[in-house]
């Protein structure tokens, strides 16, 4: 196992390096920030002065060099926009998004596993049809649309939830609900399919022959065996949550990393983009490793091979 994790981490580093390089150059291809930070009236001298001040007049490769050396000293440079250390800003914003994900994913798993399992027990039954219908709808609604409708319905019309912002637990209900929707919709389907495979296996037959109760057969025998594919898909969905976060944070004014990234791209705040990408990438790779470990936890065959 240990060597395995080591291998994975090594691979992750490779992808990470690749990622950093791509982002660095791509970002700078989007044009110079100077005009964004100077008044429209600014003169060419002012612009040159500004570029010199932030080293944008160096050749790209030089900029890249200094960026890399900076990174190894844990210094991602300062935010043009906020003139604060980029890493600090990212680390300040990251927990919110992390929290969103940390609330969302368990919910998603709980919902999809229970629903999927029950749906699979009587395929074609009323519950099954209902479940797949709802999950389909959930998975195919534009999330910003859901978000805004959610505000209008629950905050304005029914007035049971705050419109936006952070603070009380009620503030989290709508954003989380929006984030849960798609992954849950997808996972219910996955869970249902893999549960049906598990239920048709011989060991389930054997369990019946032992006299095991129906509920135990589903939730003890079949469930754990049908988890692997769910975990796989779930990890991809988890990585995708940042995308949802971008929109949720924009609509609900959550101070998270998704919004930070978008804003910094808009404002050509390269330092922040790089720091943000690196941090999220690390997080995603962490998720991947956790997933690999949970494979081994769920299936002893992997643990022992």
């Amino acid at each position: 196992m240990g060597s395995f994790i080591f291998k994975r981490s090594f691979q992750s580093i490779l992808s990470l390096i690749f990622l950093v390089i791509v982002v660095f150059f791509l970002a700078r291809m989007t044009g110079s920030p100077a005009m964004l930070y100077l008044p429209p009236e600014a003169t060419q001298d002012q612009i040159d002065a500004y570029n010199a001040l932030h080293g944008f007049d160096d050749p790209l490769i030089v900029q890249f060099g200094s960026f890399i050396t900076g990174v190894f000293q844990g210094d991602f440079g300062n935010s043009l926009q906020y003139s604060r250390p980029a890493l600090d800003m990212v680390l300040a914003a990251f927990p919110t998004t992390l929290a969103l994900a940390a609330v969302t994913m368990p919910l998603v798993l709980l919902i999809s596993i229970v629903t999927g399992a029950l749906a699979a027990y009587h395929p074609g039954g009323v519950f099954d049809r209902l479940a797949s219908l709802i999950s389909l709808i959930g998975a195919s609604m534009p999330n910003f649309w859901v978000a805004i409708v959610g505000v209008l319905v629950f905050a304005v019309t029914l007035n049971v939830l705050p419109t936006s912002g952070t603070g009380t637990w009620q503030h989290w209900v709508l954003p989380v609900a929006v984030l849960v929707l798609r992954p849950a919709g997808v996972l219910v389907q996955v869970m249902r399919t893999s549960m049906m495979t598990a239920l048709s296996s011989v060991y389930v037959k054997a369990a019946k022959a032992k006299g095991v109760k129906a509920r135990a057969i589903i939730f003890v025998h079949a469930l754990r065996n049908s988890l692997l594919p769910v975990i796989t898909v779930a990890s991809d969905q988890a990585a995708g949550i940042v995308n949802g976060a971008v929109i949720v944070e924009t609509v609900f004014g959550f101070p998270g990393i998704g919004k930070l990234m978008i804003d910094s791209v808009l404002m050509r705040d390269f330092a922040v983009i790089q720091a943000a990408i690196l941090v999220t990438a690390l997080a995603v790779f962490l998720i991947n490793i956790i997933v690999d470990i949970s494979y081994a936890f769920v299936d002893p065959r992997i643990r022992h091979s």
Partner: protein
């Protein structure tokens, strides 16, 4: 009368219409007695047993008539809960493939204990009992092993664990569905012995579902023979074996290999030379969770020579390295050391072109015809593919007619050419595989467990086909099998492999008439070629 099935019929609705799985079947079994239900795949032999265990879902299945009387009460009338209480407590069941029947993600101890827990025995009591049971079925160090998972045991051990779980509550009746057919022959024998012992101790009744007459002969008191969902013959196993009434039963008996005479064939010049060949696996990345494994000597310093026209039987149990050897002869794997010469030319390190030429002369038939035929190709495409690969053999214009001929040679109809493999029975599929092997008019055909997956009667037919082809085309075979009996009347000489090494080799007659190595003897005994008491 412990359990008696009366006029039972079971039907499955399918898109193809109503399938009569069993029709008006009656049988019964007493305490301490063993009833064998004998039949080939699809004969419906296990359906009635599944009905006893309430494993048949109704709907979709329908049970239009019949009773299942357990100690006088009709289980078919009982409600699900009652039947659940009977399952595992009064009647328990073990299955053909223990690996599939054990839940891969729970420790075996837990699974055995579960049987007891679900029937109201306190977990700690159950735990203690598990250790006894494991010891009883012959698992060493039970305290430690009970924490292990199914995949950490050998096939035989898994079946023992299944048995342990089945007998945990001293059931009155044990239903064993093909309990040994997935196991190596020598292991089969031991598992059957275990079942007999336990039965002797607890005096439970046993229903043994099998396709294997030797098993019946060995353990059953009485036998019912099933064909196409009906019982065609029944009686004490002794008399059924002695003078079978129904000709289906007779065919089954005749089909038992190892009763015909030896085949003697004059050996020609040497064709295949294998010189101190070894294959070492491991150290390389494995499938799935890709991790390093200990090096394994799959084949260990094997040498032999085979002459043209000869049929070499390679016999051994799983893990003996016989299949690895076959793969190397086919050039699918390269030996770690040693040389394999075909017709005097070394197969290793030859150029792409040479290898390509050689493949035309050496063909193959694999164990599982279902797996070795591409399900998305028609028979025509499958048999013609070798010509597509070796275009100079046969002009495209003649493909169809040639395929038709080949199909007839292997006993199929020309109009089968446009079907897909899944539309054929196992035997027929294997015939298709053989037709494909013949397409290139090879000199040597390597058969890797070519008949092991087939029903006994079908085995015989396929073997006969191979014999005819040998006669007509002077083909040579390397015939890999785990059952000595099969090889006996087909091969001209035999290799017995164990743990990657050759433990005995020689002309088939010598090896069978006076085996030298103990392992060979064990094999012979297990496969019933020589009677229990002998040697």
């Amino acid at each position: 009368m412990l359990l008696s099935v009366r006029n039972l019929s079971i039907q499955f609705p399918s898109r193809a219409g109503l399938v009569r799985a069993v029709e008006d079947v009656s049988w019964d079994v007493n305490a301490g007695e063993t009833l064998a239900i004998l039949g080939e795949s699809g004969s419906g032999k296990s359906v009635s047993a599944s009905a006893v265990m309430n494993l048949i879902e109704t709907p979709p299945a329908v049970i239009p008539q019949g009773q299942i009387l357990f100690e006088g009460h009709d289980l078919l009338q009982a409600d699900a809960e009652t039947r659940r209480r009977i399952n595992g407590k009064s009647i328990s069941m073990i299955f053909q493939d223990p690996l599939a029947a054990l839940n891969p993600v729970y420790p075996v101890g837990w699974q055995i204990a579960e049987t007891m827990r679900v029937h109201g025995i306190a977990p700690d009591v159950a735990q203690a009992r598990v250790i006894e049971l494991l010891a009883r079925v012959g698992i060493s160090e039970p305290e430690r092993r009970m924490k292990d998972y199914p995949h950490q045991f050998s096939g035989g051990q898994r079946q023992r664990i299944m048995i342990a779980s089945a007998i945990a509550l001293k059931p009155k009746l044990l239903i064993a569905d093909e309990p040994t057919s997935a196991l190596d022959v020598t292991v089969q024998a031991r598992v059957l012995d275990l079942l007999k012992e336990i039965q002797a101790e607890d005096g439970m009744g046993m229903v043994l579902i099998t396709h294997d007459l030797t098993v019946v002969e060995r353990v059953a008191d009485r036998v019912v023979v099933m064909q196409a969902g009906r019982i065609v013959e029944s009686g004490t196993s002794a008399e059924v074996m002695r003078n079978p009434q129904h000709d289906y039963t007779r065919r089954l008996l005749d089909a038992i290999p190892g009763r015909a005479g030896f085949s003697d064939i004059a050996a020609g010049r040497p064709m295949l030379e294998v010189q101190s060949v070894s294959k070492i696996y491991g150290g390389l990345a494995r499938q799935f969770a890709r991790l390093r494994t200990q090096p394994v000597r799959a084949v260990d310093d094997v040498s032999f020579t085979m002459a043209k026209g000869e049929t070499l039987g390679v016999v051994g149990e799983s893990g003996s390295g016989k299949s690895t050897l076959a793969r190397m002869i086919l050039g699918l794997d390269d030996p770690t050391s040693g040389v394999i010469r075909f017709d005097g030319r070394a197969m290793q390190g030859q150029s792409e072109a040479e290898a390509y030429k050689m493949r035309r002369r050496v063909q193959f038939v694999f164990q599982d015809p279902t797996a070795s035929l591409n399900p998305r190709m028609t028979v025509q495409q499958i048999i013609a593919e070798p010509w597509a690969i070796h275009p100079d053999v046969l002009p495209k214009s003649q493909w169809r007619t040639r395929v038709a001929e080949l199909l007839e040679q292997v006993g199929l109809k020309p109009d089968h050419a446009d079907r897909h493999p899944h539309q054929f029975s196992g035997g027929q599929r294997q015939r298709i595989a053989i037709a494909r092997a013949l397409a290139l008019k090879p000199e040597l055909i390597v058969c890797d467990e070519a008949v092991s997956a087939l029903d006994v009667s079908v085995q015989a037919q396929v073997i006969d086909l191979l014999k005819d082809l040998r006669r007509d085309y002077g083909l040579s075979y390397v015939f890999v099998a785990h059952d000595l009996a099969l090889v006996r009347d087909f091969a001209t000489s035999v290799l017995v492999m164990y743990g990657g090494r050759i433990v005995e080799q020689g002309p088939v007659r010598d090896v069978y008439d006076n085996p030298q190595h103990d392992y060979t003897k064990a094999l012979l005994r297990a496969s019933g070629v020589i009677p229990q008491q002998a040697a």
